[in-house]
Amino acid sequence: MRKILLYILIITTGIIFLSRLFYLQVVDTSFARLSENNAIKVVYDYPQRGYIFDRNGELLVSNQPSYDVMAIPRNVKAFDTAEFCKILNISAEDLVKKLDKAKIYSPRLPSIIIPQLTKSEYAYFQEKMRKYEGFYIQKRSLRDYQTKNGSNVLGYITEVNKKIIDENPYYISGDLIGKQGVEGYYEELLRGVKGVKYIQKDRFNRDIGAYKEGIFDTIPKKGKDINITIDGILQAYGEKLMENKRGGIVALEPKTGEILAMVTAPSYDPALLMGRQRSANFTKLYYDTIAKPLYDRGLLAEYPPGSPFKTINALIALQENVVTTEDRFYCNRGYAYGRGRKLGCHAHPSPLSMIPGIAQSCNAYFANVYRRIIEKYDTPQEGMDVWSNHLKSFGLGGYLGSDLSTGRPGKIPNAEYYNRIYDYPTYKWFSTATLSNAIGQGEILMTPIQLANMTAAISNKGWYYTPHILKKIEGQPIKDEAFTKKHITTIDAKNFEPVIEGMHQVYMNGTAAALRIPGIEIAGKTGTAENFAKVNGKKTQLTDHSIFIAFAPVDNPKIAIAVFVENGYWGGRYAGRIASLMVEKYLKGTITRTDMEDWILSHSLEDEYAKPYSGQPFSINN
């Protein structure tokens, strides 16, 4: 016992030590994490965000330095707060509150006291800087908008929220991220890749050099400059025309699917969502639930297309061989069907064949055509699905798949849909039950961009490229298959000729005869769509939407456009004028019909929009 006691003690001690070490170093990993936290500081180096140019190389969005006033609380000495507050335009209580907050966060580490000073604010403050010990300036890069237009196209930059940080490990608290529009969709392209530096700290939290001589550090990669397909001038002009109105304009280049302009009204200056006032401005825009300036009507608003939809019904009818261009149909101020039911129409010569039918937008003509399509087949279900599939080949009734951060599918009904709502087979339904589809009302919904794309497909006589907003990356044209692959419609090219001629006649002697552009052969179609809204919980009809589609020149289309103006009464009144002016602006560069321009600029629909909210009974379509 006397000889072995010490042996036993030594071996026991050794075993205890080894098991404790095993526990500390191998089993329990929480210490390793703690170590990373207290010894290594990660510093990020943010690259410049890529510039955004328009299709003609005009700079739309660049960067500007902004200056955050930082403070390290323990280093702050007594200073002249009154002067400080005056220079930086903040209240004394605010300053005290912010300094206290910074102190609570950490007395040794820097905190932002006043974010995002502009260059001129900074210049003034810098002169006095030396008086304020413990304060310093941290430079950041902010967006600098060279345009007041296209906020819906461009999107905006915001600080990442918790959800983004949790989902995407790239972002850390305080990082900026693009939201909506191009900034949102092409975030990764524009932002570049931030560089990272690992810095070894000592126990006083001081930097003592690069961690492992910087082998884990990375250099920031600059964001890529891009050209978008938008024509800056056309976009600006569209927004100007849409002032005091609500609605959307989408203009496409039919041969490429490039979006030339995408206007939503009302809109806002993109610079509002940047800098010191960002948060206040955003709140204001966000809570305007009546005008909804943040809602991109060009992409999101699903309207009944109205009469422009007739063109596509004509195409389907020709493709299905249910009418010839010579077939005439009578119209007696409308089309009577069933017992005492009638689809009304306006006064025009009768009977009409296809081309004047389109030009005069005769409801009775298209009611006949539509019935022939559906009734060609043994059951209305079969006919409905054939019709529906033709429409879907134009990119309707589903997401377009464009490179815009947002979108809506619209609605194109099919047999299954009507079976469901009419409770088939308990109840049967026939073509007449869906007759509103003939004139683009009823169950059909389309967004302005879908309508513009449909127009582009007609102008191309049967094909289109998916509309897209990105033109070039760092000067190189995009090669993305999604936007360089032709989509072919189910309609043969030859069937487009009479329809296009009909649309041309709309201008020559039809519903838009007053909107001709001197020297340009243009094709179009007016639309007037009934619409309803809930007013005090009751479904109430409001003034019709004014709708217009057009493309020009007819032989070699360079622009296809769709215009929606909410409650604009009839197609030619607002939308037709705007479409005509837009086409002229794009093709000629100048406006020859200044009286028409003045009319649009001087007419406001704000009174119309106020009606449902007035609480008073109101009349429509006047």
Partner: protein
């Protein structure tokens, strides 16, 4: 013998981590090599003959600290000559080991006799009592290591049991309070009364022991609460888990655990320790050197160090056992006991199972006095061992 050099050779590799101190330490190491040569060239007989003189000189040197000593880190345990500071308490251990060996090696000494026990205890206790109020509780505590040679030479096991019981009661009193401890002692003794068939202890004796334990337990509680300073209380509380304050008093232990824990299996590599570089662990080049080993060399490295110490200690016992003379054996056991205590207390402290006590890890911690004293301690024994056949 290669074990010694292996463990010694290990020292520089870790100490090189500290550029600001490693140069000094390198000088000490080189000087200690010279010292080794000197030590090995002196005849073994010399150590035995002059042990009393050495003992008295070292007693004077530690007593002289009260007059000439310099206070570093709150302890007056240093003489400063020019830029060099020397800690005489480190060397007093060697002297005490020699003196104890000489006393026990004397043919007339029989440790089983009470008077001789008293004398032996005196030899150990005098330097310990001088060191304790400096204050250097860690160094003083090491003198308990001399119980091992005494026990080996025939001291009754009762002393060890009493010491162990005293420590156990001390710890349990702090954790559970004196009342439960008294009850537990009573229960254990009753149990032993029933289990033991022969040689039963007398009930009166049991009652006395229980009373003594109770008195001790209550006085521990009283002393802990009223006599100890707050910093001592805190140190115990942290290890006993009754208090967690990782920013104040618990900082050392917590940071040390973080450093070691972050090492993982293989460690972060030499000079790559983030905690070491950031100097998060205070005293990391002296008492907390093992945390650096743990962080930079991982479980593999730190368990290797533990294994080396174990091998060294076990080897030392074997060597001590093969000595022909009592002097050599007692000295050998003293060496083993001292190194074992340093190893035990230091690493327990670093890995958070023992209160913070300022005591270096032999051959690893920075400090010339420590390195030299362990070198002297060890190599005197080697010299004795090499001449074990030639005299007596």
């Amino acid at each position: 013998m290669n074990i010694y050099s292996a463990s010694l050779g290990d020292a520089p590799s870790s100490i090189f981590d500290f550029s600001q101190t490693y140069g000094k330490q390198a000088v000490w190491i080189i000087l200690s090599l010279v010292l080794i040569v000197i030590l090995l060239s002196i005849e073994a007989r010399f150590y035995m003959r002059f042990s009393s003189v050495i003992y008295i000189i070292s007693l004077l040197s530690i007593a002289g600290l009260f007059v000439f000593g310099k206070t570093i880190n709150g302890a007056t345990s240093w003489y400063v000559f020019g830029g060099i500071s020397i800690q005489p308490a480190e060397f007093a251990k060697v002297a005490t080991a020699l003196a104890l060996a000489k006393y026990l090696g004397d043919i007339q000494t029989n440790i089983k006799l009470f008077t001789n026990q008293i004398k032996a205890f005196m030899i150990i206790a005098i330097p310990a009592l001088i060191i304790l109020p400096q204050p250097d509780a860690g160094s003083a505590m090491v003198y308990a290591a001399f119980l091992f040679p005494l026990y080996r030479e025939g001291l009754s096991g009762i002393y060890l049991i009493l010491l162990f019981a005293a420590i156990a009661i001390f710890v349990f009193t702090l954790v559970f309070g004196p009342i439960y401890v008294t009850l537990a002692v009573f229960a254990i003794l009753l149990l032993s009364l029933f289990l033991k068939k022969r040689n039963r202890p007398k009930p009166l004796l049991i009652l006395l022991i229980v009373l003594a334990a109770m008195a001790y337990s209550f006085s521990v509680d009283y002393i802990f609460q009223n006599v100890f300073e707050q910093r001592h209380r805190d140190r115990f509380n942290i290890v006993l888990g009754s208090e967690v304050d990782t920013r104040g008093i618990g900082y050392n232990t917590n940071q040390s655990e973080i450093a070691i824990g972050s090492g993982g299996w293989l460690g972060k590599g030499w000079t790559e320790g983030t905690q070491t570089k950031g100097q998060f662990v205070p005293e990391q080049h002296t008492d907390y050197i093992f945390s650096t080993v743990g962080e930079e060399w991982g479980f593999l490295g730190s368990s290797l160090v533990v294994a080396l110490f174990m091998l060294l200690l076990l080897r030392l016992i074997m060597l001590a056992e093969r000595q022909k003379s009592v002097f050599n054996r007692v000295y050998g056991y003293s060496v083993t006991g001292i190194i074992f205590f340093h190893f035990l207390i230091n690493i327990s402290m670093v890995i958070g199972i023992f209160p913070t006590v300022g005591i270096p890890l032999p051959f690893f911690s920075y400090g010339g006095s420590g390195l030299w004293s362990f070198t002297i301690l060890l190599f005197i024994f080697l010299k004795l061992d090499s001449e074990r056949m030639s005299f007596w």
